[in-house]
């Protein structure tokens, strides 16, 4: 067993830390020639191979791909939880050197703090920043309403269902007002009905809050329903093989799934994915 307390290394990367110049529009996130290679004495594994990706402010982008294609790894690199082996990642013009409050994350496994109530979990980031009690209460109220869990404000996570816990986890991340929300298969463990409800809630939240979202999934329908753009990845080595624009507008209802346009897009993506699914 390795020690728990490994704060992600803040490796100094030489070179420009350009601040956004006035008048020039900068992408919110730019991933520039990023590779991630895991090494040990006996083996070497390329989890990500020269990834280039930009995400605009307010955009909702999904990373879609088979297991092992490095989706989670890419998200962790953007979060700053691990350093890239090569290349660099910039968020709002600043090179990522470690995790920070500007990049919120929602994990697949339920990671609420069990010793804190729903309210306290949502307020955690604000508390870290030393926000006043009044301000914390205001923000917590706002998000409790958004996720429809006002009645559970004083409950501990153990008393909540998986879907409710993920709603709180999303609220906890958003309460920090991050410029980017990174989500790693947040609904992967939920039943289809709950999953559908969560997706609609997320679309609404995204519309209202305008947060930039990168969403990892291997569910094609989920990717189409949620995103404006889908980045398709393949494994061995983890790489981007295609990008697909999703032509649907912002307001999306559940019925969108039954439209011809939706099914057509789905078939198109599945066809693109099939060969890389098989090569595993």
């Amino acid at each position: 067993m390795t020690p728990v307390f490994q704060r992600p290394v803040e490796k100094a990367i030489p070179g420009e830390d350009r601040q956004p110049e006035p008048g020039i529009r900068m992408p919110r996130i730019s991933v520039e020639g990023v590779s991630k290679i895991y090494r040990s004495k006996k083996w070497e594994f390329t989890a990500l191979d020269r990834i280039d990706l930009t995400v605009e402010e307010g955009e909702f982008v999904s990373l879609l791909g088979p297991s092992g294609s490095g989706k989670s790894t890419l998200l962790r690199l953007i979060a700053g939880l691990e350093p890239p082996t090569e290349g660099r990642i910039r968020v709002d013009g600043r090179t990522v050197k470690g995790p920070g409050a500007d990049r919120g994350m929602v994990f697949q496994r339920y990671t609420l703090f069990p010793w804190l109530t729903v309210e306290q979990n949502i307020a955690f980031g604000l508390r870290l920043r030393g926000e006043s009690r009044a301000k914390r209460r205001e923000v917590v109220e706002h998000y409790l309403r958004k996720i429809g869990l006002e009645a559970f404000r004083s409950a501990y996570p153990k008393a909540l269902s998986g879907g409710m816990q993920q709603r709180v986890a999303i609220a906890r991340a958003l309460a920090n007002r991050p410029s980017v929300l990174l989500m790693d298969e947040p609904f992967g463990a939920l039943d289809p009905i709950t999953k559908g409800q969560m997706q609609e809630m997320l679309v609404q939240l995204w519309e209202q809050e305008g947060t930039t979202v990168i969403f990892v999934t291997h569910d094609v329908e989920e990717a189409i329903f949620l995103s404006q753009r889908i980045v398709i990845m393949a494994a061995n080595p983890g790489r981007i093989i295609a990008e697909v624009r999703v032509p649907f507008g912002r307001s999306r209802g559940y019925d969108l799934r039954d439209t011809e346009a939706f099914l057509h897009l789905k078939r198109q993506i599945v066809r693109r994915l099939e060969p890389v699914m098989a090569e595993k």
Partner: protein, 256 residues
């Protein structure tokens, strides 16, 4: 694991096991199957216990034993808990502390007794030291293990919410360890009683261990039994108290 029992049935069976043992004992002594010098009858022991409960001398034995365990244990815990947490949290601390503790842990406490007596004499501190030394090394390792088993994702979540190292340590790692830590403390406290008896059997003129030893010399088996019973009960009481504390302190574990 394979079959679950309702709490009522569990309690019933548990009481049954005590009753069975007691009944066996009663039958044995009624029929005189075993010489009362080796196994006194339950009523004999009840009588003995009654006289002892009214004897200030006996209470002073109990008092001094409880005091030794408490001080020795607290001394060990005060050092072992922080050290264990640091060893579980930081690789370099682990390297410095864990292998050494692993090594010393395998030396049985009785083997260290002569050494401790040479260093600390046979006074009060020697006994306390035996308990402290016996508990310390186990506790460091167990606390380090508790720390290592904390979910890394909680820490990562905290970092992505903007936590600095200090904040992640005190606001996430420590609260995350506490429930397990309380359990560890409870286990080690049980062992501390073992070390107490070791210390008191060898070099003491007070305490429950000494009382048992003295009674044995005079073949007062009934007194030996009450001594053993007293130690067992004291252990049980502290254990239950800590379980209660655990429930009170960590209501969130049940989602309340």
């Amino acid at each position: 694991m394979f079959s679950n029992l309702s709490p009522a049935r569990y309690a019933g069976l548990a009481v049954g096991s005590f009753v069975f043992l007691a009944a066996l004992w009663v039958v044995t002594s009624r029929n005189g199957w075993i010489d009362p010098a080796f196994l006194p009858s339950p009523s004999r022991i009840a009588d003995e216990l009654r006289t002892e409960l009214g004897d200030p001398q006996w209470w002073s034995h109990v008092g001094i034993s409880v005091w030794r365990v408490t001080v020795g244990f607290l001394l060990a815990a005060a050092l072992a808990v922080p050290l264990g947490i640091l060893a579980g949290a930081y690789g370099w601390m682990d390297a410095l502390v864990a292998p050494l503790c692993e090594f010393i842990r395998y030396i049985p406490v009785p083997a260290l007794l002569p050494l401790i007596m040479v260093w600390a004499g046979i006074g009060e501190w020697a006994k306390i030291l035996v308990i402290a030394v016996g508990s310390f090394f186990q506790m460091v390792l167990m606390v380090a293990d508790d720390t290592r088993s904390v979910s890394r994702e909680w820490l990562q979540a905290a970092f992505t919410l903007g936590a600095k190292t200090r904040q992640a340590f005190f606001l996430v790692l420590i609260p995350a360890i506490l429930p397990r830590l309380t359990n560890t403390v409870r286990l080690v406290l049980g062992w501390a009683w073992t070390y107490l008896v070791v210390a008191e059997l060898v070099a003491a003129n007070s305490g429950l261990g000494f009382a048992i030893m003295k009674a044995q010399r005079f073949l007062r088996t009934d007194t030996v039994f009450t001594g053993i019973l007293a130690i067992g009960l004291l252990g049980l009481i502290t254990d239950r108290l800590l379980v209660l504390l655990h429930r009170k302190a960590f209501p969130y574990l049940e989602g309340r």
